[in-house]
Symmetry: C2
Subunit: 303 residues, 2 copies
Protein backbone atom coordinates (compact mmCIF):
# COMPACT_ATOMS: atom_id res chain seq x y z
CA UNK A 1 0.00 0.00 0.00
CA UNK A 2 1.41 3.34 -1.03
CA UNK A 3 1.27 6.08 1.59
CA UNK A 4 0.85 9.67 0.44
CA UNK A 5 2.95 12.57 1.63
CA UNK A 6 0.34 15.06 0.51
CA UNK A 7 -2.55 14.87 3.04
CA UNK A 8 -4.85 16.65 0.60
CA UNK A 9 -4.57 13.98 -2.09
CA UNK A 10 -5.17 11.34 0.58
CA UNK A 11 -8.38 13.20 1.39
CA UNK A 12 -9.42 13.31 -2.25
CA UNK A 13 -8.79 9.58 -2.50
CA UNK A 14 -10.94 8.91 0.57
CA UNK A 15 -13.72 10.94 -1.00
CA UNK A 16 -13.44 9.04 -4.29
CA UNK A 17 -13.44 5.70 -2.46
CA UNK A 18 -16.60 6.68 -0.55
CA UNK A 19 -18.31 7.45 -3.87
CA UNK A 20 -17.54 4.02 -5.33
CA UNK A 21 -20.62 1.90 -5.93
CA UNK A 22 -20.74 -1.20 -3.75
CA UNK A 23 -19.81 -4.64 -5.08
CA UNK A 24 -22.45 -5.99 -7.43
CA UNK A 25 -23.91 -2.52 -8.09
CA UNK A 26 -24.98 -2.11 -11.72
CA UNK A 27 -22.68 -0.17 -14.08
CA UNK A 28 -24.08 3.35 -14.40
CA UNK A 29 -25.81 4.08 -17.71
CA UNK A 30 -24.49 6.75 -20.05
CA UNK A 31 -27.27 9.07 -18.90
CA UNK A 32 -26.40 8.47 -15.24
CA UNK A 33 -22.69 9.15 -15.86
CA UNK A 34 -23.54 12.38 -17.65
CA UNK A 35 -25.92 13.51 -14.92
CA UNK A 36 -23.35 12.75 -12.21
CA UNK A 37 -20.60 14.68 -14.00
CA UNK A 38 -22.86 17.66 -14.62
CA UNK A 39 -23.94 17.69 -10.99
CA UNK A 40 -20.29 17.62 -9.87
CA UNK A 41 -19.72 20.72 -11.97
CA UNK A 42 -22.31 22.61 -9.96
CA UNK A 43 -20.41 22.08 -6.71
CA UNK A 44 -17.28 24.04 -7.57
CA UNK A 45 -17.22 27.78 -6.99
CA UNK A 46 -16.52 30.19 -9.84
CA UNK A 47 -13.94 32.95 -9.39
CA UNK A 48 -15.49 36.20 -8.13
CA UNK A 49 -16.95 38.28 -10.92
CA UNK A 50 -16.95 35.46 -13.45
CA UNK A 51 -20.12 34.89 -15.49
CA UNK A 52 -21.18 32.41 -18.17
CA UNK A 53 -23.69 32.44 -20.98
CA UNK A 54 -24.80 30.13 -23.77
CA UNK A 55 -23.35 30.67 -27.24
CA UNK A 56 -23.39 28.92 -30.60
CA UNK A 57 -20.24 28.86 -32.71
CA UNK A 58 -19.99 27.16 -36.10
CA UNK A 59 -23.31 25.49 -35.41
CA UNK A 60 -21.97 23.94 -32.20
CA UNK A 61 -23.54 24.63 -28.83
CA UNK A 62 -20.98 26.28 -26.53
CA UNK A 63 -20.72 28.13 -23.26
CA UNK A 64 -18.88 31.43 -23.00
CA UNK A 65 -17.12 31.94 -19.66
CA UNK A 66 -16.01 35.49 -18.88
CA UNK A 67 -13.75 36.07 -15.88
CA UNK A 68 -13.27 39.49 -14.37
CA UNK A 69 -10.37 41.31 -16.01
CA UNK A 70 -10.07 39.25 -19.21
CA UNK A 71 -7.66 40.87 -21.66
CA UNK A 72 -9.43 42.04 -24.83
CA UNK A 73 -8.82 39.84 -27.87
CA UNK A 74 -7.71 36.74 -25.97
CA UNK A 75 -9.66 33.50 -26.33
CA UNK A 76 -9.41 30.07 -24.71
CA UNK A 77 -11.19 27.25 -26.52
CA UNK A 78 -11.87 24.49 -23.99
CA UNK A 79 -12.62 20.84 -24.78
CA UNK A 80 -13.96 18.97 -21.76
CA UNK A 81 -13.12 15.42 -20.73
CA UNK A 82 -15.42 12.49 -20.09
CA UNK A 83 -14.09 9.69 -22.28
CA UNK A 84 -15.84 11.04 -25.42
CA UNK A 85 -19.15 9.84 -23.97
CA UNK A 86 -19.88 12.21 -21.04
CA UNK A 87 -18.99 15.64 -19.67
CA UNK A 88 -20.13 19.05 -20.82
CA UNK A 89 -19.42 22.76 -20.42
CA UNK A 90 -21.55 22.49 -17.30
CA UNK A 91 -19.57 19.64 -15.73
CA UNK A 92 -16.31 21.51 -16.38
CA UNK A 93 -17.48 25.06 -15.68
CA UNK A 94 -15.46 25.62 -12.47
CA UNK A 95 -12.27 24.31 -14.09
CA UNK A 96 -12.77 26.34 -17.28
CA UNK A 97 -13.51 29.44 -15.20
CA UNK A 98 -10.34 29.00 -13.12
CA UNK A 99 -8.21 28.51 -16.22
CA UNK A 100 -9.77 31.51 -17.95
CA UNK A 101 -9.18 33.53 -14.81
CA UNK A 102 -5.44 32.73 -14.48
CA UNK A 103 -4.88 33.22 -18.23
CA UNK A 104 -6.80 36.52 -18.25
CA UNK A 105 -8.99 35.43 -21.12
CA UNK A 106 -12.55 34.78 -22.14
CA UNK A 107 -13.15 31.05 -22.65
CA UNK A 108 -15.49 29.14 -24.92
CA UNK A 109 -16.28 25.57 -23.84
CA UNK A 110 -17.55 23.45 -26.70
CA UNK A 111 -20.45 21.04 -26.18
CA UNK A 112 -19.12 18.79 -28.93
CA UNK A 113 -20.98 15.68 -30.12
CA UNK A 114 -20.11 12.46 -28.30
CA UNK A 115 -20.52 8.71 -28.48
CA UNK A 116 -22.41 6.53 -28.53
CA UNK A 117 -24.96 8.78 -30.30
CA UNK A 118 -22.37 10.48 -32.50
CA UNK A 119 -19.45 8.47 -33.65
CA UNK A 120 -15.88 9.64 -34.34
CA UNK A 121 -14.94 11.98 -36.02
CA UNK A 122 -18.00 14.08 -35.09
CA UNK A 123 -16.20 15.45 -32.01
CA UNK A 124 -13.18 16.48 -34.10
CA UNK A 125 -15.43 18.10 -36.70
CA UNK A 126 -17.17 20.10 -33.97
CA UNK A 127 -13.85 21.22 -32.50
CA UNK A 128 -12.69 22.38 -35.95
CA UNK A 129 -16.03 24.14 -36.55
CA UNK A 130 -15.79 26.10 -33.30
CA UNK A 131 -12.13 26.95 -33.95
CA UNK A 132 -12.96 28.17 -37.45
CA UNK A 133 -15.91 30.21 -36.15
CA UNK A 134 -13.64 31.89 -33.59
CA UNK A 135 -11.22 32.89 -36.36
CA UNK A 136 -14.09 34.03 -38.59
CA UNK A 137 -15.35 36.09 -35.66
CA UNK A 138 -12.09 38.02 -35.56
CA UNK A 139 -10.01 36.14 -33.00
CA UNK A 140 -6.35 36.25 -34.03
CA UNK A 141 -4.73 32.77 -34.01
CA UNK A 142 -1.92 34.22 -31.89
CA UNK A 143 -4.52 35.23 -29.31
CA UNK A 144 -6.17 31.83 -29.18
CA UNK A 145 -5.19 28.91 -26.95
CA UNK A 146 -6.84 25.49 -27.05
CA UNK A 147 -7.05 23.52 -23.83
CA UNK A 148 -8.65 20.31 -22.69
CA UNK A 149 -8.50 17.50 -20.17
CA UNK A 150 -8.56 13.71 -20.58
CA UNK A 151 -10.55 12.95 -23.75
CA UNK A 152 -10.72 16.72 -24.30
CA UNK A 153 -6.92 16.82 -24.12
CA UNK A 154 -6.74 14.11 -26.76
CA UNK A 155 -9.30 16.06 -28.78
CA UNK A 156 -7.19 19.22 -28.50
CA UNK A 157 -4.21 17.27 -29.87
CA UNK A 158 -6.40 15.84 -32.64
CA UNK A 159 -7.49 19.40 -33.42
CA UNK A 160 -3.82 20.38 -33.85
CA UNK A 161 -3.54 17.67 -36.52
CA UNK A 162 -6.88 18.59 -38.13
CA UNK A 163 -5.84 22.25 -38.41
CA UNK A 164 -2.67 21.15 -40.22
CA UNK A 165 -4.69 18.96 -42.57
CA UNK A 166 -7.19 21.73 -43.35
CA UNK A 167 -4.56 24.42 -43.79
CA UNK A 168 -5.90 26.49 -40.88
CA UNK A 169 -3.47 28.56 -38.81
CA UNK A 170 -2.21 27.09 -35.55
CA UNK A 171 -3.21 28.81 -32.30
CA UNK A 172 -0.71 30.30 -29.83
CA UNK A 173 -0.56 27.02 -27.94
CA UNK A 174 -2.25 23.91 -26.64
CA UNK A 175 -2.57 23.16 -22.93
CA UNK A 176 -3.60 19.58 -22.21
CA UNK A 177 -4.31 18.00 -18.85
CA UNK A 178 -3.94 14.22 -18.45
CA UNK A 179 -4.69 13.65 -22.14
CA UNK A 180 -6.24 10.40 -23.36
CA UNK A 181 -4.14 10.28 -26.51
CA UNK A 182 -4.01 6.58 -27.32
CA UNK A 183 -7.39 4.90 -27.75
CA UNK A 184 -5.70 1.52 -28.22
CA UNK A 185 -4.80 1.65 -24.49
CA UNK A 186 -1.26 0.45 -25.15
CA UNK A 187 0.49 2.43 -22.39
CA UNK A 188 2.62 0.67 -19.78
CA UNK A 189 1.01 2.76 -17.05
CA UNK A 190 -2.29 0.84 -17.33
CA UNK A 191 -0.27 -1.87 -15.66
CA UNK A 192 2.27 0.06 -13.57
CA UNK A 193 -0.29 2.48 -12.14
CA UNK A 194 -3.25 0.09 -11.91
CA UNK A 195 -2.98 0.04 -8.11
CA UNK A 196 -2.71 3.78 -7.61
CA UNK A 197 -5.17 5.21 -10.17
CA UNK A 198 -8.49 5.55 -8.32
CA UNK A 199 -10.54 6.43 -11.41
CA UNK A 200 -9.33 4.98 -14.70
CA UNK A 201 -9.06 1.36 -15.82
CA UNK A 202 -8.13 -0.10 -19.17
CA UNK A 203 -11.43 -2.02 -19.27
CA UNK A 204 -13.39 1.18 -18.72
CA UNK A 205 -11.58 3.06 -21.46
CA UNK A 206 -11.87 0.11 -23.85
CA UNK A 207 -15.65 0.37 -23.43
CA UNK A 208 -15.72 4.13 -23.95
CA UNK A 209 -13.38 3.92 -26.94
CA UNK A 210 -15.75 1.41 -28.52
CA UNK A 211 -18.74 3.71 -27.84
CA UNK A 212 -16.89 6.63 -29.46
CA UNK A 213 -15.30 4.80 -32.38
CA UNK A 214 -18.17 2.45 -33.12
CA UNK A 215 -15.72 -0.08 -34.52
CA UNK A 216 -13.59 2.39 -36.49
CA UNK A 217 -9.79 2.03 -36.28
CA UNK A 218 -8.36 3.39 -33.03
CA UNK A 219 -5.04 3.93 -34.82
CA UNK A 220 -6.47 6.92 -36.73
CA UNK A 221 -4.36 9.88 -35.49
CA UNK A 222 -7.51 12.00 -35.10
CA UNK A 223 -8.70 9.42 -32.57
CA UNK A 224 -5.29 8.54 -31.11
CA UNK A 225 -2.95 11.50 -31.59
CA UNK A 226 0.08 9.48 -30.43
CA UNK A 227 0.08 8.11 -33.99
CA UNK A 228 0.06 11.56 -35.61
CA UNK A 229 2.65 13.70 -37.37
CA UNK A 230 2.85 16.91 -35.34
CA UNK A 231 5.61 18.73 -37.19
CA UNK A 232 4.68 22.41 -37.39
CA UNK A 233 2.04 22.56 -34.68
CA UNK A 234 1.95 25.18 -31.93
CA UNK A 235 3.75 24.83 -28.56
CA UNK A 236 2.18 22.33 -26.18
CA UNK A 237 2.06 22.17 -22.38
CA UNK A 238 1.14 18.80 -20.86
CA UNK A 239 0.33 18.49 -17.15
CA UNK A 240 -0.33 15.08 -15.69
CA UNK A 241 -0.38 13.22 -12.40
CA UNK A 242 2.25 10.61 -11.53
CA UNK A 243 -0.40 8.10 -10.37
CA UNK A 244 -2.40 7.94 -13.59
CA UNK A 245 -3.17 4.90 -15.67
CA UNK A 246 -2.91 7.45 -18.48
CA UNK A 247 0.62 8.56 -17.47
CA UNK A 248 2.17 6.78 -20.47
CA UNK A 249 -0.11 8.69 -22.85
CA UNK A 250 1.53 11.91 -21.67
CA UNK A 251 5.06 10.51 -21.86
CA UNK A 252 4.48 9.08 -25.32
CA UNK A 253 2.96 12.35 -26.52
CA UNK A 254 6.00 14.25 -25.24
CA UNK A 255 8.22 11.80 -27.12
CA UNK A 256 6.19 12.10 -30.34
CA UNK A 257 6.10 15.90 -30.12
CA UNK A 258 9.80 16.17 -29.29
CA UNK A 259 10.73 14.02 -32.26
CA UNK A 260 8.54 16.25 -34.45
CA UNK A 261 10.45 19.28 -33.11
CA UNK A 262 7.40 20.79 -31.43
CA UNK A 263 8.01 23.04 -28.43
CA UNK A 264 6.77 20.82 -25.62
CA UNK A 265 6.78 21.08 -21.87
CA UNK A 266 5.71 18.08 -19.82
CA UNK A 267 5.01 18.48 -16.14
CA UNK A 268 4.44 15.42 -13.98
CA UNK A 269 2.90 16.22 -10.60
CA UNK A 270 3.91 13.70 -7.94
CA UNK A 271 1.15 11.74 -6.19
CA UNK A 272 -1.48 13.46 -8.30
CA UNK A 273 -4.34 11.69 -10.07
CA UNK A 274 -6.27 12.03 -13.31
CA UNK A 275 -7.26 15.69 -13.94
CA UNK A 276 -6.37 16.64 -10.37
CA UNK A 277 -6.93 20.24 -11.48
CA UNK A 278 -10.65 19.63 -11.00
CA UNK A 279 -10.06 19.46 -7.22
CA UNK A 280 -8.81 23.03 -7.08
CA UNK A 281 -10.93 23.81 -4.04
CA UNK A 282 -9.16 21.38 -1.74
CA UNK A 283 -5.86 20.63 -3.41
CA UNK A 284 -2.98 23.07 -3.29
CA UNK A 285 -1.16 21.15 -6.03
CA UNK A 286 -4.15 21.78 -8.31
CA UNK A 287 -4.04 25.50 -7.64
CA UNK A 288 -0.26 25.56 -8.22
CA UNK A 289 -0.58 23.62 -11.48
CA UNK A 290 -3.34 25.94 -12.70
CA UNK A 291 -1.25 28.97 -11.75
CA UNK A 292 1.77 27.63 -13.66
CA UNK A 293 -0.43 26.84 -16.66
CA UNK A 294 -1.80 30.38 -16.45
CA UNK A 295 1.71 31.81 -16.58
CA UNK A 296 2.49 29.60 -19.59
CA UNK A 297 -0.68 30.73 -21.39
CA UNK A 298 -0.01 34.37 -20.51
CA UNK A 299 3.44 34.03 -22.09
CA UNK A 300 2.03 32.38 -25.25
CA UNK A 301 -0.68 35.05 -25.58
CA UNK A 302 2.04 37.69 -25.33
CA UNK A 303 3.79 36.03 -28.27
CA UNK B 1 17.60 18.07 -45.75
CA UNK B 2 15.86 19.75 -42.84
CA UNK B 3 15.54 23.51 -43.06
CA UNK B 4 15.59 25.52 -39.85
CA UNK B 5 13.11 28.24 -38.98
CA UNK B 6 15.46 29.70 -36.39
CA UNK B 7 18.22 31.53 -38.30
CA UNK B 8 20.41 31.55 -35.21
CA UNK B 9 20.57 27.77 -34.90
CA UNK B 10 21.37 27.58 -38.62
CA UNK B 11 24.29 29.91 -37.88
CA UNK B 12 25.48 27.75 -34.99
CA UNK B 13 25.30 24.70 -37.24
CA UNK B 14 27.38 26.43 -39.92
CA UNK B 15 29.96 27.27 -37.29
CA UNK B 16 30.06 23.69 -36.03
CA UNK B 17 30.39 22.37 -39.59
CA UNK B 18 33.30 24.71 -40.26
CA UNK B 19 35.06 23.35 -37.18
CA UNK B 20 34.75 19.73 -38.30
CA UNK B 21 38.09 18.10 -39.07
CA UNK B 22 38.47 17.19 -42.75
CA UNK B 23 38.00 13.63 -44.00
CA UNK B 24 40.90 11.43 -42.97
CA UNK B 25 41.97 13.78 -40.18
CA UNK B 26 43.13 11.87 -37.11
CA UNK B 27 40.72 11.54 -34.14
CA UNK B 28 41.72 14.12 -31.55
CA UNK B 29 43.49 12.75 -28.51
CA UNK B 30 41.95 13.09 -25.04
CA UNK B 31 44.41 15.90 -24.30
CA UNK B 32 43.46 17.71 -27.51
CA UNK B 33 39.70 17.39 -26.76
CA UNK B 34 40.25 18.75 -23.28
CA UNK B 35 42.36 21.66 -24.51
CA UNK B 36 39.80 22.53 -27.18
CA UNK B 37 36.91 22.50 -24.69
CA UNK B 38 38.82 24.60 -22.19
CA UNK B 39 39.74 27.09 -24.89
CA UNK B 40 36.08 27.35 -25.95
CA UNK B 41 35.24 28.26 -22.38
CA UNK B 42 37.50 31.28 -22.56
CA UNK B 43 35.53 32.76 -25.45
CA UNK B 44 32.22 33.31 -23.68
CA UNK B 45 31.70 36.50 -21.71
CA UNK B 46 30.85 36.40 -18.02
CA UNK B 47 27.95 38.48 -16.66
CA UNK B 48 29.04 41.91 -15.46
CA UNK B 49 30.38 41.85 -11.93
CA UNK B 50 30.82 38.07 -11.84
CA UNK B 51 34.12 36.71 -10.52
CA UNK B 52 35.57 33.25 -10.03
CA UNK B 53 38.19 31.74 -7.76
CA UNK B 54 39.68 28.33 -7.08
CA UNK B 55 38.35 26.32 -4.15
CA UNK B 56 38.74 22.83 -2.71
CA UNK B 57 35.71 21.03 -1.28
CA UNK B 58 35.82 17.55 0.20
CA UNK B 59 39.27 17.12 -1.29
CA UNK B 60 37.97 17.87 -4.80
CA UNK B 61 39.30 20.76 -6.85
CA UNK B 62 36.48 23.17 -7.64
CA UNK B 63 35.84 26.66 -8.93
CA UNK B 64 33.62 29.09 -7.08
CA UNK B 65 31.66 31.43 -9.36
CA UNK B 66 30.12 34.48 -7.72
CA UNK B 67 27.67 36.59 -9.71
CA UNK B 68 26.72 40.09 -8.69
CA UNK B 69 23.69 40.05 -6.39
CA UNK B 70 23.79 36.40 -5.29
CA UNK B 71 21.31 35.75 -2.48
CA UNK B 72 23.06 34.79 0.77
CA UNK B 73 22.88 31.10 1.62
CA UNK B 74 22.03 29.85 -1.86
CA UNK B 75 24.37 27.41 -3.60
CA UNK B 76 24.46 25.85 -7.07
CA UNK B 77 26.64 22.75 -7.45
CA UNK B 78 27.54 22.40 -11.12
CA UNK B 79 28.73 19.23 -12.84
CA UNK B 80 30.17 19.92 -16.29
CA UNK B 81 29.70 17.83 -19.41
CA UNK B 82 32.32 16.31 -21.69
CA UNK B 83 31.41 12.62 -21.88
CA UNK B 84 33.14 11.82 -18.55
CA UNK B 85 36.49 12.25 -20.29
CA UNK B 86 36.80 16.00 -20.96
CA UNK B 87 35.47 19.36 -19.82
CA UNK B 88 36.24 21.33 -16.68
CA UNK B 89 35.07 24.29 -14.62
CA UNK B 90 37.09 26.37 -17.09
CA UNK B 91 35.37 25.00 -20.21
CA UNK B 92 31.95 25.59 -18.65
CA UNK B 93 32.65 28.84 -16.83
CA UNK B 94 30.46 31.12 -18.99
CA UNK B 95 27.52 28.71 -18.76
CA UNK B 96 27.91 28.24 -15.00
CA UNK B 97 28.18 31.99 -14.53
CA UNK B 98 25.00 32.64 -16.55
CA UNK B 99 23.08 30.01 -14.60
CA UNK B 100 24.35 31.33 -11.28
CA UNK B 101 23.39 34.83 -12.39
CA UNK B 102 19.75 33.98 -13.31
CA UNK B 103 19.31 31.87 -10.16
CA UNK B 104 20.82 34.58 -7.92
CA UNK B 105 23.24 32.15 -6.36
CA UNK B 106 26.91 31.44 -5.84
CA UNK B 107 27.98 28.36 -7.83
CA UNK B 108 30.62 25.73 -7.25
CA UNK B 109 31.77 23.84 -10.34
CA UNK B 110 33.43 20.54 -9.48
CA UNK B 111 36.55 19.40 -11.30
CA UNK B 112 35.61 15.75 -10.72
CA UNK B 113 37.88 12.86 -11.76
CA UNK B 114 37.32 11.52 -15.28
CA UNK B 115 38.20 8.63 -17.53
CA UNK B 116 40.33 7.17 -18.84
CA UNK B 117 42.67 8.03 -15.91
CA UNK B 118 40.00 7.58 -13.25
CA UNK B 119 37.38 4.97 -13.79
CA UNK B 120 33.74 5.00 -12.65
CA UNK B 121 32.60 5.56 -9.90
CA UNK B 122 35.35 8.11 -9.12
CA UNK B 123 33.27 10.90 -10.69
CA UNK B 124 30.24 9.99 -8.55
CA UNK B 125 32.40 9.79 -5.42
CA UNK B 126 33.75 13.26 -6.12
CA UNK B 127 30.26 14.67 -6.67
CA UNK B 128 29.14 13.18 -3.34
CA UNK B 129 32.26 14.51 -1.60
CA UNK B 130 31.64 18.06 -2.82
CA UNK B 131 27.95 17.85 -1.92
CA UNK B 132 28.78 16.61 1.57
CA UNK B 133 31.39 19.33 2.03
CA UNK B 134 28.84 21.97 1.06
CA UNK B 135 26.44 20.65 3.72
CA UNK B 136 29.25 20.42 6.27
CA UNK B 137 30.14 24.02 5.43
CA UNK B 138 26.67 25.15 6.46
CA UNK B 139 24.70 25.14 3.20
CA UNK B 140 21.09 24.11 3.90
CA UNK B 141 19.91 21.31 1.55
CA UNK B 142 16.85 23.45 0.76
CA UNK B 143 19.21 26.19 -0.45
CA UNK B 144 21.25 23.90 -2.67
CA UNK B 145 20.51 23.04 -6.30
CA UNK B 146 22.55 20.59 -8.36
CA UNK B 147 22.87 21.21 -12.08
CA UNK B 148 24.80 19.70 -14.94
CA UNK B 149 24.87 19.21 -18.69
CA UNK B 150 25.39 16.10 -20.81
CA UNK B 151 27.59 13.68 -18.81
CA UNK B 152 27.34 16.20 -15.96
CA UNK B 153 23.56 15.95 -16.21
CA UNK B 154 23.82 12.19 -15.93
CA UNK B 155 26.21 12.64 -13.03
CA UNK B 156 23.72 14.96 -11.28
CA UNK B 157 21.06 12.24 -11.64
CA UNK B 158 23.53 9.64 -10.36
CA UNK B 159 24.22 11.94 -7.41
CA UNK B 160 20.48 11.97 -6.62
CA UNK B 161 20.64 8.17 -6.33
CA UNK B 162 23.92 8.21 -4.39
CA UNK B 163 22.46 10.67 -1.85
CA UNK B 164 19.53 8.30 -1.31
CA UNK B 165 21.90 5.36 -0.84
CA UNK B 166 24.08 7.26 1.63
CA UNK B 167 21.17 8.70 3.60
CA UNK B 168 22.13 12.29 2.78
CA UNK B 169 19.38 14.89 2.44
CA UNK B 170 18.16 15.74 -1.04
CA UNK B 171 18.81 19.25 -2.37
CA UNK B 172 16.04 21.67 -3.39
CA UNK B 173 16.20 20.42 -6.95
CA UNK B 174 18.19 19.12 -9.89
CA UNK B 175 18.43 20.98 -13.19
CA UNK B 176 19.84 18.86 -15.99
CA UNK B 177 20.58 19.94 -19.55
CA UNK B 178 20.64 17.30 -22.31
CA UNK B 179 21.61 14.57 -19.85
CA UNK B 180 23.60 11.53 -20.94
CA UNK B 181 21.65 9.15 -18.72
CA UNK B 182 22.01 5.82 -20.50
CA UNK B 183 25.59 4.67 -21.11
CA UNK B 184 24.34 1.63 -23.01
CA UNK B 185 23.26 4.01 -25.81
CA UNK B 186 19.92 2.27 -26.26
CA UNK B 187 17.84 5.35 -27.14
CA UNK B 188 15.80 5.45 -30.36
CA UNK B 189 17.04 8.99 -31.01
CA UNK B 190 20.55 7.75 -31.89
CA UNK B 191 18.79 6.54 -35.03
CA UNK B 192 15.95 9.06 -35.47
CA UNK B 193 18.14 12.10 -34.86
CA UNK B 194 21.35 10.81 -36.46
CA UNK B 195 20.93 13.19 -39.40
CA UNK B 196 20.19 16.30 -37.36
CA UNK B 197 22.56 16.02 -34.39
CA UNK B 198 25.73 17.87 -35.42
CA UNK B 199 27.80 16.76 -32.43
CA UNK B 200 26.92 13.40 -30.90
CA UNK B 201 27.12 9.92 -32.41
CA UNK B 202 26.53 6.53 -30.84
CA UNK B 203 30.04 5.42 -31.86
CA UNK B 204 31.58 8.43 -30.15
CA UNK B 205 29.68 7.85 -26.90
CA UNK B 206 30.43 4.12 -26.99
CA UNK B 207 34.12 5.04 -26.98
CA UNK B 208 33.76 7.54 -24.15
CA UNK B 209 31.61 5.15 -22.10
CA UNK B 210 34.33 2.54 -22.43
CA UNK B 211 36.99 5.07 -21.33
CA UNK B 212 34.88 5.99 -18.28
CA UNK B 213 33.64 2.55 -17.32
CA UNK B 214 36.81 0.63 -18.14
CA UNK B 215 34.74 -2.47 -18.82
CA UNK B 216 32.41 -2.14 -15.82
CA UNK B 217 28.68 -2.73 -16.37
CA UNK B 218 26.96 0.24 -18.04
CA UNK B 219 23.68 -0.90 -16.47
CA UNK B 220 24.82 0.29 -13.03
CA UNK B 221 22.33 3.07 -12.13
CA UNK B 222 25.18 5.29 -10.92
CA UNK B 223 26.57 5.13 -14.48
CA UNK B 224 23.21 5.00 -16.30
CA UNK B 225 20.57 6.64 -14.11
CA UNK B 226 17.76 5.50 -16.44
CA UNK B 227 18.07 2.18 -14.61
CA UNK B 228 17.75 3.75 -11.15
CA UNK B 229 15.01 3.90 -8.54
CA UNK B 230 14.34 7.60 -8.01
CA UNK B 231 11.47 7.45 -5.53
CA UNK B 232 11.96 10.22 -2.97
CA UNK B 233 14.46 12.38 -4.85
CA UNK B 234 14.10 16.15 -5.22
CA UNK B 235 12.20 17.84 -8.10
CA UNK B 236 13.95 17.69 -11.45
CA UNK B 237 13.93 20.04 -14.44
CA UNK B 238 15.18 18.60 -17.74
CA UNK B 239 15.85 20.86 -20.72
CA UNK B 240 16.85 19.32 -24.02
CA UNK B 241 16.98 20.05 -27.74
CA UNK B 242 14.64 18.32 -30.19
CA UNK B 243 17.52 17.50 -32.57
CA UNK B 244 19.65 15.53 -30.15
CA UNK B 245 20.86 11.98 -30.51
CA UNK B 246 20.43 12.05 -26.72
CA UNK B 247 16.75 13.12 -26.91
CA UNK B 248 15.56 9.66 -25.85
CA UNK B 249 17.70 9.83 -22.71
CA UNK B 250 15.65 12.83 -21.59
CA UNK B 251 12.31 11.23 -22.52
CA UNK B 252 13.22 7.98 -20.77
CA UNK B 253 14.39 9.85 -17.68
CA UNK B 254 11.08 11.75 -17.56
CA UNK B 255 9.25 8.43 -17.81
CA UNK B 256 11.37 6.81 -15.08
CA UNK B 257 11.00 9.82 -12.78
CA UNK B 258 7.26 10.14 -13.41
CA UNK B 259 6.72 6.49 -12.57
CA UNK B 260 8.73 7.01 -9.37
CA UNK B 261 6.41 9.94 -8.50
CA UNK B 262 9.18 12.51 -8.68
CA UNK B 263 8.18 16.07 -9.54
CA UNK B 264 9.57 16.37 -13.05
CA UNK B 265 9.35 19.00 -15.74
CA UNK B 266 10.67 18.18 -19.18
CA UNK B 267 11.15 20.96 -21.71
CA UNK B 268 12.00 20.10 -25.30
CA UNK B 269 13.27 23.07 -27.28
CA UNK B 270 12.47 22.78 -30.98
CA UNK B 271 15.35 22.77 -33.47
CA UNK B 272 17.85 23.00 -30.64
CA UNK B 273 20.98 20.87 -30.31
CA UNK B 274 22.99 19.25 -27.53
CA UNK B 275 23.57 21.71 -24.66
CA UNK B 276 22.41 24.64 -26.79
CA UNK B 277 22.59 26.71 -23.61
CA UNK B 278 26.32 27.00 -24.20
CA UNK B 279 25.60 29.23 -27.22
CA UNK B 280 23.90 31.88 -25.07
CA UNK B 281 25.79 34.68 -26.79
CA UNK B 282 24.22 34.11 -30.20
CA UNK B 283 21.12 32.08 -29.55
CA UNK B 284 17.97 33.66 -28.18
CA UNK B 285 16.50 30.22 -27.41
CA UNK B 286 19.50 29.57 -25.14
CA UNK B 287 18.92 32.79 -23.25
CA UNK B 288 15.20 32.02 -22.94
CA UNK B 289 15.89 28.49 -21.69
CA UNK B 290 18.40 29.78 -19.15
CA UNK B 291 15.93 32.43 -18.00
CA UNK B 292 13.17 29.82 -17.53
CA UNK B 293 15.58 27.54 -15.66
CA UNK B 294 16.52 30.52 -13.50
CA UNK B 295 12.86 31.09 -12.61
CA UNK B 296 12.48 27.40 -11.78
CA UNK B 297 15.59 27.46 -9.55
CA UNK B 298 14.43 30.69 -7.89
CA UNK B 299 11.14 29.00 -7.06
CA UNK B 300 12.85 25.89 -5.66
CA UNK B 301 15.24 28.00 -3.56
CA UNK B 302 12.23 29.83 -2.18
CA UNK B 303 10.83 26.44 -1.11
Amino acid sequence: MTSWKDPEIAGVRALLAARQPGPGAPTPTVAERRAAMDAAGEIGALPTGCFHEPATLGGVKCERVVPHGAAPGRMLLYLHGGAYTAGSPRSHRPLVARLADVAHTVAVAADYRMGPEHRFPAAVEDAVAVYRALLDGGTEPGQLIVAGDSAGGGLALALALALKAEGLPQPAGFFVISPWADLTQSGASYRTKADTDPMITKAGLDTHAMAYLGGLDAHDPLASPVFGDFEGVAPILIQTGSEEALLSDSITMADVLAHARVEVRLEVWPEMIHVFHAWGGGLQAARRAIKLAGAWMDEKFAG
